[in-house]
Symmetry: D2
Subunit: 429 residues, 4 copies
C-alpha cells in the first residue's frame, strides 16, 4: 500500500539554513534543533490535514473533465483504491515534510453510507488503513473531527429543529470520537460549522442552545466512559454555513460553556482566519484564550486581508507569529495542541509543487518566529518592561482594590485628599 | 430659566395619522394609544440624549468661526449661562417631541474641574438645574453615565496600568452614580469606551481584566449601599478608542461577568451601531441578550451599511424594528430599559429642523414597528409556527436528551436500529 | 419534450392584489397593468437565469448521495435526457412566473467537449432545443454569456499569460455570441470573472490589459460582422476568482473602455451584490452609470449586509428599488436591458417551493417600487426640489463657469468685491 | 524666530546601522548612501506634514484643560506667537529627522479670516515666515494644498449646489496655489475630501460633476498662466466627509479626467489608507497608476487592518514597501512626487518621543525596502521570470492580436485546426 510514488519528483525536505537557494528546503525549520531546552519539533507540534485541502478539492478541479486533473490524481480508478491512494499520498507528503502529526475529518477519510451502520463500517476500514500508515511513517494524530456539513444538517446538526437529525449527528460524532480514540488522537475537535440560524422568525434560540449543551455534556460523559485521554477542542467560527453562527468567537463559546459548567472540559482551537473574520486578530485571540484559561490549539490559515473572506491561505505576518509563540513559550508550550495546516487551494494552484512551497514557507515562518520569541524570553526585556508598567499597583491601595477590600468612598477620599490636578503628566508609556 | 425660546419656530409635535403631509407631525407615534393593553409611550419608553449629539458637536461646528454657528448656539455668552441655555434647549426639545425620558453623560452636563472636588461641585450645580427642569416638564431620567474619554484615560480608565488613573476614574463614576441616584435615574450605564489595549507587547491582560472586575464589584457594592433602585447597564463596543476593546460584544461581556459572579447584577445596553460593527445584527443581539437573560435597554443608532463606520444615524429598517419589538412584547416589555436616541450630527446637518425631522421619522419607525409586532402577537401565527417546527422533540427521547438522562450509545442505537437512510426527505422547513 | 411535469404541484402565478393570503400569488406584479402609459412587464423586463442557480447547484446538493436530491432532480438519468429535463423545467418555471425573458451561460446549457469543435456541436444541439422551448412559451432571450471559469482560465481567460489559453477563450466567446445571435438575444454579456491577477510579482499589468482590450475590440468587430443587433454588456466584479479583478467597479471599466475608444460600444450590467462588495451601493452605481451614459442592465442579487459576502440573495430594500426605478423612469425605461434574477441557493433552501417564494417576493418588490417611483414622477415634487436646489447657477456667472468662459482671477474678484463673510447662513438644504 | 528649543531633549537623528540599540537612530536610512547610482534621499524624497498631525490635534488634546497639553504646546500664548512657534517646531522636527521636504494645508498654516481678503493676508504672512524657515534649514516644499473642510463646504466645495460656495472654494484654492508657487512647491495637491453626495434624492450628479470639471480646467489654466512649474496631484478618497465621494478610487478619478480631456494634466497622490479603504491594496494602486500613466506621489499612512478605519498610522508591511519601491525604481524613480508622512496621533500617543519613534521606524522601513528592491533590480530575476511567463505571445499570432490585425474567426480556426484538448497541462506557473 505504501509505495511512495505520488510525489516521486520531490525529495524529502531538509533544513539547509537561511541562505540556501533551494526552494525545496527549510531555511529555519530544523526539527531537532534545541530552543530553550526543547526541540523545534516538540515546540511547534506541526500537523497537516491533507484530505481536506487536497483531496476534497478534486471536485473543484473541473470534475467533468478528466484531462484537467493533476496527474497524481488521475491514478485513482476505483473507490477502494482511491481511498488507499489518498492515504498513501497523504502520508508520503507528511513524511517528506518531516512533521510529526496529521489531522482528519471523518467524511474526508471515509464516505458516508446509506445508513449509520454502513458509515461505521466505512470509517473502520479507513481507520485500519490509517493505523498501518501511521506506524510505518511514525506520524501521530493531533485531532480527529466529524464533518457535519451534510445537507441534512443545513439547518443545524445538533441544533437542528428535528430530533432525528440531532440523533444522526450524535451517532456520527460517536463514530468519529471512537476512531480518534482508537488512533490515539491527542485531541478531539468539535466544529460547530453548521450550528446557527438564518432567521429569528423561525428559530427558538433557547431550545437550540439547550440542544447544543446537551450534546456537549454527552460528549464529555462519553469521552470519560471510553477512557479517551485526549483533550476536547472547540473551534469558533463567525460565518457560514449559517448567517448567525452559535460559536461566533471565543467569548461566545466561553460564555456558553460557563453557563453549562463545561468551561473546564473544553479548550479552544484558534483558527487564524476565523479570528480576523470576527474582527479580532490572530494574536489577540490567542491572548484572550490564555487569559481565560481556555487556550488549546491553533489552525494556521489566514483570511484575505482586504475583503476578509475566508480564503484560508497560510500565515504570512512574522510579527504576529512572534507574538503568538512568545505567549506559548511563556506558558511552557502547547499541552495537547499544535499548529495545524489545513488550507484550501486557490483555483490557480494547479502545480503539485505549490503544495510543497506553501507548507515549507509557512513552516519556516513558524520556525523563524519561534527563534525570535525565544530570544525575547531569554533577554527578559519585554517581561521586565511589563512588570514596571504596572508596578505602582504593588502597594497597599493597589492590593486592597484587587482583593476586594476597599470601596468607592475610600477611593474617592484618596483622590480628593491629594486634591491632585487631574492631568496627564504621569501617564505611563 | 426655562423660557422656551430656542425652537420658537417649531410647535410641539403631535400625532396626525399616516396620511398627514405635515413633516412636523407623527404618522404613527400616538403616545396614549393603547396597544395590547398598554400605551405606546409605556411600551417604547423613548429617551433623548441631547447634550451628546447637539451640544458636544459645537466644536465640530467650525469653532474658530462664530458666524458658522447655528443661531440657537450663538446665544451662549458665558459658561454658566451656557450651561443653563443647554438645559433649557434640551428640555424644550424633548418636551416638544412629547417623549418621557432623557439620558446624560456627566461631562456633557458639567465640565471637569482641575480637581475631583471642583468637578463634584460642577456636577452638583448642573444636577440642581436639571432637577428643576425635569419637574417643570415631567420628564424622567432613563440613565446617567460617566464619560471616561478624557485624555488621561487614553490607555484605559479602570484598566489603566497606572493606579492613580484608576482611582480618578472610580471617583468620577462615584459622582456620576450619585447624581443619577439623586435624579431618580432608572438605570446607571457603564460604557467601557476606553477599556482595551493597543498592543499585547505592553499589556498584561489578566491584570487589566482583574482591575475591571474590581471596579464592577465596587460599583455593585456602592449601588446597594446608597440604595440606588435602578438597574446597572453595560454597553458593549467593538472598536475605539482602543484597537482591542474589552467589551467587544455581548458575549464578551457576559463571559466576563460570569467569571466574576456578576451576571445577575448587570444587563446589556444594546447599541445598534455596535452590533453591526461587531458583525452581528441589531435583532440578533437583542435575541442573544434575551436568550442569556441579560437584556436591558437599547441605544437607537445605526452604523453605516456600506463601510460599517460608527456614524450613529437613526434606525431605518422597519423589518428589524418589528423583530425587536416582537421580542420585547413577548417578554412583557422593557423592565427598566427603553429606546434611547443619541446621535452624532453629520457635518451637513446644519439646519435646526433636521434635529426634529430625524427624531420624528425614527420615533415613527418605532411606533409603526410596535403596531406590526403587536399584530404578530395577536394572530399567534409566528409562535404557532415555531412550536410546530420543534414539536418532535416533545417525546420521551427528546425529553431525555434535554434533561441529561441519556447518552451517546443509546442515541447511536436509536439511529442504528431504525437503520434509516440518512436523507433529507424529512427536513423541516 | 415540453411536458410540464416538474412543478406540477404549483399552478401558474397570478396577480391577486396586496391583501391576498396566497403565498403563490403576486401582490403587486400585474404584468399588463399600465403605469405611465406602459405595461409593468414592459417596464421591468424581468428575466430568470435558471441553469446557474438551480441546476448548477446539483453538486452542492450532496452529489454522492442520491437520496438527498430533490425529487425533481432525480429524474435525470442520462446526459441528453438530463439536458432536455433542464430546459423543460426551466421554461416551465419561467412560464409559471409569467415573466418575459431568460438568460443563459454557455456551460450551463451545454457541457464542454474535449475540443472546441466538440463544444461547438454541444452548444448547437442545446440552442436548437432552447429555440423550440422559446417559441412554445413565447419567452425571449435577454442575454447570453460565456462562462470562462474553467480551471485553465484560473490565471485569466483573455488576460492569461499563455497565448493558447487566450485563443481558447476567444473561441468559446465566439460560440457563445453566435448562439446568442441565433436566439435573437437582446444583449451579449461579457463577464470578466476570472480576469485579474494574484500577485504583482508575476504579472505584467500593461500586457494583460492590452490583451483584454484586443479581445473587446475583436468582439465589437465580430458583432458588426455577423449583424448582431443586440447591445454588448460588461459586468464589473470586485473580487474572485482573482484577488485583484480588472473589472473592479464601473469606474474601472469606464476608464478602461475610454482609453481604448470603446466607451460607446459597451454598457454596464449592474450586479447589485457587486456594487456593495465594492463599497458602493446599488442605487449609487445605477446613478453613476447613467451620469456617464453607460447604463445597460441589472442583475438583481444582493450581498450579505453584515460581512459583505457575495451570497447572491434577492433585493429586499424597497427604498433602494424605488430610487433605481425612479432613475429608469426618468430616462424612459430600459433600452435593451432588464432585471435579471440569477441567485445561488443557500444550502438550507431544499424545498422546491422556496424557488417560487423567492422569485414572487422579489418580483413583487420591483413592482411595488415601480408604482412608488411612478407616483414620484407624476407629482414632480422631487424634480422640482432638485431644480430649485441648484437654481442660483442659472445666472451669468454660473453659466460662464460651466461653459469654461471665466477663470480663477475673475472668480476671486467676485468673492473679494462682495467682501462677504464666509459663513453658512445661506447653505442650501 | 528659529531657536531650536521645542525638542531640545532630542538630538538630530543619524544613521547608526541595523545593529544599533539606540531608538533615536536610523538602522537603514542613510541619506547620502548611493543605491543604483542615486542617494537614498534622492530616491525616497521624504516629506513630513507637521501641522496636520501634530498641531491640528491640539483640540484632540483635551483643549479645555491646559494641564493635559504636552509641554511643547504650552508655550503658545498668543495667536501670532502661536503660529511662529508652530513653524519653529515643525522645521526643527524635520531638520532633526534629516529629510528634505515638507508639505502643508493652507488652513493649518494660517487661519481663515472673516473675508477672503483677510484670509489672503493671513496666508501671506505665514508664507513669508515659512520661506525664511525653508531657507534656514534647506528644506523644500513637496506640495501645498487647500483644506476645503470648512462647514460651508459640508455639501461639497466645488460640487456644492450653491454657486456662492463654489466661488469661495475657487478663491481659497487660488490663494493656496499662489503660495505653493511662491514657495517653489514641486506639486500642488487637489484633495476632493468633501466632494460627493449624501443622497441621490437631492443630488444632480451630472451638474455636480460638471462643476468639478470646470474647477479642474480653470486650475490648469491658472497654473499655466502664473507659470507654476510643479505638477498637479489629485488624491482619491473613498469615504467621508460625504457618504459617496466623487474621487472614490484611482479608476474613478481617471475615468473622470479622461472624459474631460484632463488625464495628461494630473497625476495621482496615492494615499495608502485610501487604497485599502476602497478595498484595493497599497501596491495594487501604485501599479494601477503606473499602468495608466498617472502615477504621481505617495501618502504613507495606513488604515486599520481589521476594521478598515482610516486611522492613518504608518506603513508596517515591508513586503508591500518592497513591491512599491521596485516599481518606482523600474521607472527611474519619482518625477515630482515623494513619500509624504502625514499621520493622525492616536489618543494614547502623548509622549513627545512617540513622534520621533514613529517617523524613524517608518523612514527605516522605506529605506530597507529600497535596498531590497534595488537588489531585485540588480539580479534581474524577477524581470526575467516575467518576460518568460509571457513569451509565447512573441510570435506572429500574438503580435497580430495585440496589433489588432486578426479576428474571432481566424482565432477560432487556430484553436479548431489544432483540435487541441482543452486542458491544463501547459498552464503557466
Amino acid at each position: 500500500m505504501l509505495m511512495q510514488n505520488f510525489f516521486h519528483q520531490i525529495a524529502a525536505i531538509y533544513y539547509e539554513g537561511k541562505d540556501t537557494q533551494n526552494p525545496l528546503a527549510y531555511r529555519y525549520y530544523n526539527p531537532k534543533k534545541l530552543v530553550l531546552g526543547k526541540s523545534m519539533a516538540e515546540h511547534l507540534r506541526i500537523a497537516v490535514s491533507l484530505w481536506h485541502p487536497y483531496f476534497a478539492s478534486e471536485q473543484i478541479f473541473a470534475p467533468e473533465h478528466p484531462s484537467t486533473q493533476p496527474t497524481w490524481k488521475k491514478q485513482v480508478v476505483d473507490q477502494a483504491a482511491h481511498q488507499k491512494a489518498r492515504f498513501t499520498a497523504m502520508f508520503e507528503f507528511i513524511n517528506k515534510l518531516g512533521v510529526p502529526f496529521f489531522t482528519f475529518q471523518d467524511r474526508d477519510i471515509a464516505k458516508e453510507g446509506l445508513t449509520i451502520n454502513d458509515s461505521q463500517r466505512n470509517i473502520k476500514v479507513a481507520a485500519a488503513n490509517i493505523a498501518e500508515a501511521m506506524a510505518y511513517h511514525e506520524i501521530d494524530l493531533l485531532w480527529g473531527t466529524a464533518n457535519l456539513s451534510h445537507l441534512r444538517y443545513s439547518k443545524g446538526a445538533v441544533t437542528n429543529p428535528d430530533l432525528e437529525i440531532f440523533t444522526q449527528a450524535i451517532a456520527q460524532v460517536k463514530d468519529a470520537l471512537d476512531v480518534t480514540h482508537q488512533l490515539s488522537g491527542q485531541n478531539y475537535l468539535v466544529c460547530g460549522g453548521c450550528e446557527g440560524y438564518e432567521s429569528l422568525l423561525n428559530t427558538n434560540l433557547k431550545q437550540e442552545l439547550n440542544q447544543y449543551a446537551s450534546f456537549l455534556k454527552m460528549l464529555v460523559d462519553y469521552k470519560y466512559k471510553i477512557g479517551f485521554k485526549g483533550n476536547l477542542l472547540l473551534e469558533p467560527k463567525p460565518f457560514e454555513h449559517t448567517k448567525h453562527q452559535y460559536d461566533f468567537n471565543i467569548a461566545t463559546v466561553l460564555a456558553f460553556l460557563q453557563q453549562h459548567g463545561l468551561e473546564k472540559e473544553f479548550t479552544i482551537n484558534v483558527a487564524a482566519n476565523h479570528t480576523t473574520l470576527a474582527e479580532h486578530s490572530f494574536p489577540h485571540d490567542v491572548a484572550y484564550a490564555y487569559a481565560n484559561n481556555i487556550f488549546g490549539s491553533i489552525d494556521c490559515v489566514m483570511g484575505d486581508g482586504i475583503n476578509g473572506w475566508d480564503v484560508e491561505h497560510y500565515p504570512q505576518h512574522l510579527s504576529e507569529i512572534v507574538q503568538i509563540l512568545y505567549m506559548i513559550l511563556q506558558r511552557d508550550g502547547f499541552k495537547n495542541g499544535g499548529f495545524n495546516f489545513d488550507t484550501m487551494l486557490r483555483s490557480a494552484n494547479i502545480n503539485i509543487n505549490d503544495m510543497f512551497y506553501a507548507h515549507i514557507k509557512n513552516i519556516d515562518t513558524l520556525a523563524q518566529g519561534l527563534l525570535i520569541a525565544a530570544s525575547l524570553i531569554e533577554t527578559g526585556e519585554t517581561e521586565n518592561f511589563l512588570r514596571k508598567r504596572y508596578q505602582n499597583w504593588d502597594c497597599a491601595l493597589g492590593r486592597s482594590i484587587l482583593q476586594g477590600q476597599t470601596d468607592f468612598e475610600k477611593i474617592f477620599q484618596h483622590v480628593g485628599q491629594k486634591d491632585v490636578t487631574l492631568n496627564i503628566s504621569n501617564i505611563k508609556k
